[in-house]
C-alpha cells in the first residue's frame, strides 16, 4: 500500500441465476483490481444446484492486503433475483448500502429490503442486448466504474479473459462494460477506492486461492507423493497438484476411496517420500483408523482437511470450523499427532509447508486444518516468498549393528531406515512393539513406546510459529481464535486498538500438541479473553479449557456456518465482555 493513503476497502456482491455469469464477472473485477495494483478477496455463495442455480460473487477490494469480510456489503448488484433468499443471510447490508437491480428482473426480494438499503434501477439486460453482449459484462463495467477502477485495467482483463472466444466477443464485452460504466454518473455515489501507485513501484502480486496456496506449501515443503479421493471443498488442492507433481518427479494417485488414499500415502512415506492427502470431514472420518497406524508405526503423513458444514454430509459447499474435535481426538487409543491450522488464505501455504516439515521431523501424522472460506476464496496478495521449511527426516544409515527402528531416544525420535538401506530391514507395525519393531504385549514396552511417541511431540521446539501474537501485546484483553477467523479477528482487534481499547490477538497455528508454557506466556497479563470460533459446540473453547488454565473471565463467541463471523461482531463481543452488565446479550456463550 502506498503509505500516504489510508487503508480503504469496498465490499461488493454480484448475484444472479446460473448462466448469468456473475462468477466470471466477479473474477474479472478482482483481476482488474489486481491489475490496477489493488488487493482483494473474492468468495462464492452458491445455491444447491449442481451447476447453474443462483450464485453470488462476494468481493472486497482494498488498497491494502485484505482477507476478512467486512461487516456489510457496500454494493449489491443483482442481474436477477432468482432464489436469493436462500443465502440472503450471508449478504449483510447497511442502510447506506447501494442495491442495484434491473427493473426487468422484478421486485427486490423482502430479505434484501429488510436492511432498508439505498436502491437504484438499471436496465442491465437491455444494455446487454443493445451492445450484443451479456448482462454480466454490463455489471462488470458498472461496478468497476462505481468504485473507481481504471477503465484500462478492466478492458485489459476482459480482453485477456475472453481472448479465446474470439475478437467479436471481446469487442462486444468492452462495449457492454462501457455501457455499464456510463450509467454510473446517474447513480448514487459509493466510496471509491483511491488510485494506487504506478505499476513499476509495486511489489509483484499473486492471485491465489487457499486451496492453491495449500498445494504450493506442500510442494515447497517437499511433498512428492499424493493420493486422494475428491471431495468438496478440498478437491482444488488435488487438482492444482496433479499436473504439477510429475514435472517435479512426483505423482498423484486418484484412489478408490479415503481408506485407500490414506494408506497409499502411508506407503509412500514408508518408502521415504514426503506424502500428503487432502480431504474434508467425511473423508477425514474414514482416515482416522489408518492415521492411528501412522502414529503407532511412526510414519509421517500430512492430511489437509478443508472444513465444511457438518455433521455428516452437512452443507458441503459452505464453511465451518467444526472438524476441530475429530482432528484432535478422532483417533482411537492414545494417539498423539500434530494438528495445525492455517490462519488465512495466503497462510495456507506457510502453514502447510511448516506442517510438512514438522510431520517429517517428528515422524508422525499431521492434520492441517483449512476451511471452505479460505480454500475456495481467492485473494490478491503480495508474492509469497518461500519460508524455507523442508521435509528432513532422521534416517538410519546403512549397516547399523543391531538396528532398532523404535529405539527409545531422549528426543523420542528414532532413526528410520528407508527401504533400500542395507542392514536396516525392519517391520513397521501398528501392533505395540519392542524397540526392534517386533510385536510385544508387555507392559514395559507399551509404556516406553507410548512415552516416546508422546515425548517427541512435547519436547520439540516449535519456535515462534505456533501462534500469531498481534495487536497490543500487553493488553489485558485478548481475542483468541484459530483458522480463517483470524482475518476478521485481526481487523476487530485493530479497530479496538485504534479506538483506544487495547486488545491483543492470539491465533493458534499449532493446535496439538498443546504448548502450556508458550500459551501461558502469550496470555500473561490477560484478564479478559474472548474465544471466537465458527461452530456450534464451542470445540475450540473446550480444547483450550482442557489443556490450558484460562482467565476466569473467559467467554466464547461462536456460531456455526455458513454466515461468516465479521469484525464488527467481534468488536461488539469484546465490548460486551468488558462491560458485561450493559450488554451481556451479545456474547453467545
Amino acid at each position: 500500500m502506498d503509505p500516504s493513503l489510508n487503508p480503504q476497502s469496498v465490499s461488493i456482491v454480484l448475484c444472479g441465476s446460473g448462466g448469468a455469469g456473475v462468477m466470471t464477472a466477479g473474477q474479472m473485477l478482482l483481476d482488474a483490481a489486481a491489475a490496477a495494483g489493488l488487493y482483494g478477496v473474492m468468495s462464492r455463495a452458491l445455491g444447491p444446484q449442481i451447476r447453474g442455480g443462483e450464485a453470488a460473487a462476494l468481493l472486497r477490494l482494498a488498497n491494502h492486503p485484505v482477507e476478512a469480510p467486512d461487516d456489510a456489503f457496500d454494493v449489491l448488484l443483482a442481474v436477477d433475483w432468482q432464489n436469493i433468499e436462500r443465502f440472503a443471510a450471508e449478504l449483510p447490508l447497511r442502510a447506506d448500502s447501494l442495491v442495484i437491480g434491473d427493473p426487468a428482473a422484478g421486485e427486490l426480494p423482502a430479505a434484501i429490503l429488510r436492511a432498508h438499503p439505498r436502491r437504484a434501477e438499471v436496465a442491465l439486460q437491455a444494455l446487454a442486448d443493445e451492445t450484443g453482449s451479456r448482462v454480466n459484462m454490463v455489471a462488470l463495467g458498472l461496478l468497476a466504474e462505481l468504485i473507481g477502477l481504471p477503465a484500462e485495467a478492466v478492458y485489459a482483463t476482459l480482453a485477456a479473459a475472453l481472448a479465446d472466444k474470439g475478437e467479436a466477443v471481446v469487442e462486444s464485452g468492452i462495449r457492454a462494460a462501457l455501457a455499464g460504466a456510463q450509467v454510473v454518473a446517474a447513480l448514487p455515489a459509493v466510496s471509491r477506492l483511491p488510485t494506487v501507485a504506478a505499476a513499476a513501484n509495486r511489489p509483484v502480486r499473486w492471485s491465489l486461492s487457499g486451496n492453491e496456496a495449500s498445494g504450493l506449501g506442500a510442494l515447497r515443503g517437499g511433498v512428492r507423493f499424493v493420493a486422494a479421493y475428491p471431495i468438496t471443498p478440498a478437491t482444488e488442492i488435488l487438482e492444482w497438484l496433479a499436473p504439477r507433481l510429475p514435472p517435479l518427479g512426483g505423482c498423484l494417485v486418484q484412489a478408490e476411496d479415503e481408506l485407500a488414499s490414506v494408506n497409499m500415502i502411508l506407503g509412500g512415506a514408508f518408502g521415504g517420500v514426503p506424502s500428503l492427502t487432502a480431504t474434508s470431514g467425511p473423508g477425514l472420518a474414514l482416515m482416522t483408523e489408518s492415521l492411528g497406524l501412522g502414529v503407532a508405526s511412526e510414519t509421517p503423513v500430512v492430511v489437509c482437511n478443508v472444513m465444511r458444514g457438518g455433521p455428516s454430509t452437512g452443507i458441503p459447499t459452505k464453511s465451518e470450523q467444526s472438524d476441530l474435535d475429530i482432528a484432535l481426538h478422532g483417533l482411537h487409543g492414545d494417539a498423539p499427532h500434530l494438528v495445525t491450522a492455517a490462519t488465512g488464505i495466503a497462510d495456507c501455504a506457510f502453514t502447510t509447508q511448516w506442517t510438512v516439515q514438522l510431520a517429517e521431523a517428528l515422524q508422525v501424522p499431521a492434520i492441517v486444518l483449512s476451511d471452505q472460506a479460505m480454500g475456495q476464496s481467492r485473494a490478491v496478495v503480495d508474492a509469497l516468498p518461500d519460508p524455507g521449511f523442508r521435509a528432513v527426516r532422521l534416517t538410519a544409515p546403512a549397516g547399523v549393528e543391531g538396528y532398532q527402528r523404535y529405539a527409545v531416544t531422549e528426543s523420542g525420535v528414532s532413526p528410520m531406515a528407508v527401504p533400500g538401506t542395507p542392514g536396516g530391514s525392519f517391520v513397521a507395525d501398528g501392533l505395540e512393539h519392542a524397540p526392534r519393531g517386533t510385536p510385544s504385549t508387555q507392559a514395559a514396552h507399551h509404556r516406553e513406546q507410548l512415552d516416546k511417541r508422546h515425548r517427541k511431540l512435547e519436547v520439540h521446539d516449535y519456535g515462534e510459529h505456533w501462534a500469531l501474537l498481534e495487536g497490543a501485546r500487553d493488553a489485558e484483553t485478548a481475542v483468541i481464535c484459530f483458522g480463517s477467523l483470524t482475518a476478521a479477528a485481526r481487523e476487530a482487534v485493530d479497530r479496538l486498538n485504534a479506538a483506544g481499547t487495547p486488545v491483543r490477538l492470539i491465533s493458534l497455528r499449532l493446535l496439538a500438541p498443546a504448548l502450556p508454557l508458550a500459551f501461558a506466556a502469550a496470555l500473561r497479563g490477560v484478564r479478559h479473553a474472548l474465544v471466537v470460533e465458527q461452530n456450534h459446540s464451542r470445540q475450540f473453547l473446550g480444547h483450550l479449557r482442557s489443556h490450558y488454565p484460562l482467565p476466569v473471565h473467559t467467554h466464547g463467541y461462536h456460531r456455526p456456518g455458513p454466515v461468516a463471523i465479521r469484525p464488527g461482531e467481534i468488536v461488539a463481543a469484546v465490548r460486551s465482555l468488558l462491560a458485561p452488565v450493559e450488554a451481556p446479550v451479545t456474547v453467545e456463550d
Binding site: A34, A35, G37, N263, L266, G267, G271, A383, P419, G420
Partner: protein, 284 residues
Amino acid sequence: MNDCKLIPAPAPLTAKDYRSDLKPVWCAGCGDYAVIAAITRALAELQLPREDVAFVSGIGCSSRIPAYSAVYGFHGVHGRALPLATGLKVARPDLTVLVAGGDGDGFSIGGNHFLHACRRNADVTYIVMDNSVYGMTKGQASPTTAADWTGSVLTPDGPGVPAFRPLEIALAAGASFIARAFSGDPTTLAAQIVAGIRHEGFSLIHVLCPCVTYRPEQQKEFKARVHAEWQPTDDRREAFGRLLDDDGYATGILYRNPRPAYRAPQVAATTLDAIAAGFEVAAA
C-alpha cells in the same frame, strides 16, 4: 606384474537369509509356515537384495508373515495392505513389493481394494492365504466359507451366502496374473511366487492354506482334492471357462496377460519457481 587380487563373489543368499529370527505366533501345523518358506525360497531364487524388497500385510494370523522375513515390512491395519503397497510401489518403483494376508483381510474388509488393485495393475505380488475362516479372531466364517458351514456360533446356521470366488473376481476386475497353489506343495507355490514377482503388474497368488485350529478338516481335504490343472493362458474367455469348471481345488497359473503396470508418469522437469510464477498477476 599386477598385484590386484580377485575379490571373491559374495555367496549367494539362501532361503534362510530371507528369514528373520522371530518365532511365529502360528499354531503348530498352520499352513502359513509353508508360505513363509515358499516366499523365502522364491526370494532366494531371484537373489533379490533384502533391502530392496518390501513386504506389506494387513491383520490376521497370515498377515503376521512380514515379521518372519528379513526384508523391509509394513504390518498395517486390517484390510488395507493393498493400497499401502500400491502407494509404496508408485512412490518407490525401484522396490520389489510383496503383499500378503488372509481371506478375511483381502476379500471381506479389503474387498474394494482388491477390486481396484486388480484394475490398477501396480507391480505388486499379492499372496492370499485362504483358510476360509477368520483365524485370528477365533473362527468366524469368511467370504470364502461355504454357505452351510456351521462351525461358528456367530453364524449358527452357516453364513448362508455362497462362497466368494477370488479368481473369478480378479479376472472380472482386470487382474493380469492369476494363480492358485496349495501350501502343502511349497515348491509349486515358490515357483508361482517367482513368476508373480517377475510379472510386470499386479499378480494374485491364491493359496489354499489350512487353519488346523478352526478348520481341522482342511488339511486332509486339501491334500485329497487339490489337483494341478492350469497352464497359463492369456485368453480371458478361456480363463473364465476354466473357472466355470473349477471345483475350487485346481492349481496352477490360470491366467497371465501382461499389460503396462501402473506407474507415475515420466514428464519433462520444471522448477518450483516456475510453478509459483503461475500465480503472478499481470499489471495493467
